[in-house]
């Protein structure tokens, strides 16, 4: 303390240090100021924080060392306090460095301060008890929390944006598919009529004038008739394809064993002609549209018979098993896996996806009849039933078509 201080100030300093000495042992900054802001007490924490010893500070004016605290705004608040007013808060956002202090890492100590008027023996008016908390760690944590929260909010916003975009794309795709199906249905229906006329008049031409045509003319006419019949088949298949969705009926419980036996009955002539054999294991009952299940197995078994090897009678097996792994997420229902396996020509594994596309053919028309719509219809039917269809094969050793359908809700394991 400076020796030039008045005696009464020296006495007040001595008295205050004795009375408030306990504050040397608390981990907050604490000081006591006379109403005129002369420093009467400065605790150890503040000595350490400010780097100023009591020997220098005590008995001197706060403004000498911290001039920013003597502006009118601070002075009027201190004055209201010394006149008996309510305690004062200096928040860490508005006054982060009330008593400037640097941490060992170079960062400035962030402070939250409270000032309260306290009576002191022998002093007119109330003195100021200023308590300063170090809230640097708290501020850092809040800042980190804010950054994490802002980042999370941004991610959520981005995700929502992506979801909206996906939804819009999905709706657009759905609309576009719908239009395509409608177009296919209308186009194929409308194409039938003029085609029928072409076929009729080609037939009449052959009957009435066929004899008058030379060899080349008759060849042209035959080719035209073949082409029109093929076009008729294409249109018919295209209609079947579009009707999978446009003429869809509600699902019901369907025993696939019954369906497959009916299909095999229908194909009896072809099976006998090829000296083939069909082996059917126990098949499950599922929720499906019966007509479309018939279409599905008609195509799969029909293909198995069609793509047989030369001089090798076709053997087709149809089996099923329940899959315990990979349940449906929303319902917890398991999948039935139904396999249609043949011993035919098979195909290269790389075409396993392509074969389900419409008008996709792996073999020439001359080798095997067909329009390339059958498996596309199968895929559409399976998709419509929330199922999955895949295929695997080794060329020359046959192919297996795998269809997965959900088990009945009543079969769900508890």
């Amino acid at each position: 303390m400076r020796s030039s201080q008045p005696v009464e100030v020296e006495e007040e300093v001595t008295f205050t240090s004795r009375e408030f000495g306990l504050l040397d042992h608390v981990p907050v900054g604490a000081c006591i100021l006379r109403p005129d802001l002369t420093i009467l007490y400065w605790n150890r924490s503040l000595e350490e924080w400010s780097g100023l010893s009591r020997a220098i500070l005590l008995g001197t004016s706060l403004g000498e060392h911290f001039p920013h605290l003597t502006t009118h705004g601070f002075m009027s608040r201190f004055q209201s306090l010394t006149n008996g007013g309510p305690p004062i808060i200096f928040s860490s956002q508005l006054h982060p460095h009330l008593i400037p202090s640097t941490l060992p890492n170079g960062q400035k100590r962030v402070q939250y301060s409270t000032a309260k008027g306290v009576p002191l023996s022998g002093v007119d008016g109330l003195c100021v008890l200023l308590m300063i908390q170090d809230v640097t760690a708290l501020s850092t944590r809040v800042q980190e929390y804010r950054e994490a929260r802002d980042q999370a909010l941004q991610e959520v916003e981005e995700r929502q944006q992506i979801e909206l975009t996906l939804l819009a794309q999905s709706q657009e795709l759905e609309r576009s598919n719908e239009e395509l199906v409608q177009f296919a249905a209308i186009a194929s229906h409308d194409l039938q009529e003029p085609l029928r006329k072409v076929i009729t008049f080609a037939d009449r031409l052959k009957i009435k004038y066929g004899e008058s045509l030379d060899q080349t003319g008759q060849d042209y006419l035959d080719r035209m008739q073949k082409a029109t019949r093929r076009m008729q088949q294409l249109i018919s298949d295209l209609l079947s394809y579009s009707r999978v969705t446009t003429k869809a009926l509600p699902v019901e419980k369907v025993n696939l064993g019954d369906i497959v036996h009916e299909v095999v009955g229908d194909l009896e002539g072809r099976i006998d002609a090829s000296k083939g054999r069909i082996e059917i294991s126990d098949l499950p009952t599922i929720e499906a549209e019966p007509f479309q299940m018939r279409q599905l197995f008609q195509n799969l078994i029909g293909n198995a018979l069609k793509y047989c090897r030369n001089h090798v009678p076709p053997i087709v097996t149809i089996s099923a098993q329940i899959m315990d792994a990979g349940c449906h997420k929303a319902s917890g229902r398991r999948y039935w896996q139904i396999e249609v396996t043949d011993n035919g020509v098979g195909f290269e594994e790389q075409y396993a996806d392509r074969i389900f596309g419409i008008f996709q053919r792996l073999h020439g028309k001359a080798d095997y009849e067909g329009t390339g719509v059958g498996l596309a219809i199968c895929k559409k039917i399976v998709d419509r039933h929330n199922g999955l269809i895949t295929a695997k094969s080794v060329p020359g050793q046959g192919a297996t078509f795998i269809v997965q359908f959900l088990e009945l809700p009543s079969e769900v394991k508890a």
Binding site: G84, S91, Q93, L94, S139
Partner: protein, 197 residues
């Protein structure tokens, strides 16, 4: 409790002076021009404050004790509180979360406003009032008054307070709840200010 229009005028004037002083302090400390106004003051029975509703508010409470007992509170809807802190500090943190740092700032704002108002009223009372350190609370006004005010008959001075900066205009409410005895002392002091005709 019914006040004469003169008593009401004086009370409004006292609060206006207090809020004006608070605005002066804020402008010097914040370097952000802030206008405060008190367009309306009313005196009501706290039990009649049903219209306060149960929505959560951000409040700064200043209790006072002694011969003069009660609580003063500055109350904002949480969004307004957060907007005010943003306007005063320039802290553009997203969202309306009132975290530790922002509640600290709001506590200081409430502290300045309530000190202004209570100081202005205390000036005419010539009574020693003991104040507690202000606290921040997030709850409905109904809960606030229930927890902060004890049993017995009370009177509530309700002052709507406007806060306006360059970019922002919002309203908070100052509630000062007195015990009836304390409020009568205040009325006597008000009456003493006005010369009888």
């Amino acid at each position: 409790m019914q006040l004469t229009s003169l008593q009401k005028d004086v009370l409004q004037e006292l609060i206006n002076i207090g809020v004006g002083n608070a605005a002066g302090v804020m402008n010097e400390m914040l370097h952000t021009p802030l206008e405060l106004s008190v367009p309306h003051v009313d005196v009501v029975n706290p039990d009649d404050l049903d219209s306060l509703g149960t929505s959560c508010c951000a409040s700064v409470c200043q209790n006072f004790k002694g011969r003069f007992n009660g609580v003063a509170a500055l109350v904002f809807p949480p969004e307004s509180a957060s907007l005010l802190v943003t306007a005063l500090t320039g802290d553009e943190t997203q969202g309306v979360d009132l975290d530790e740092l922002r509640t600290g700032t709001l506590t200081e704002v409430g502290n300045i406003v309530l000190n202004g108002v209570m100081g202005s009223i205390a000036n005419i009372l010539k009574e020693h009032i003991e104040y507690l350190v202000p606290t921040f609370q997030e709850c409905s006004v109904e809960e606030l008054l229930k927890t902060q005010v004890g049993e017995g008959q009370k009177v509530c001075v309700l002052a709507e307070t406007g806060f306006r900066t360059k970019k922002l205009e919002l309203e908070g409410s100052v509630y000062i709840v007195y015990e009836v005895g304390s409020f009568n002392i205040l009325l006597e002091a008000i009456d003493a200010l006005v010369p009888t005709s």
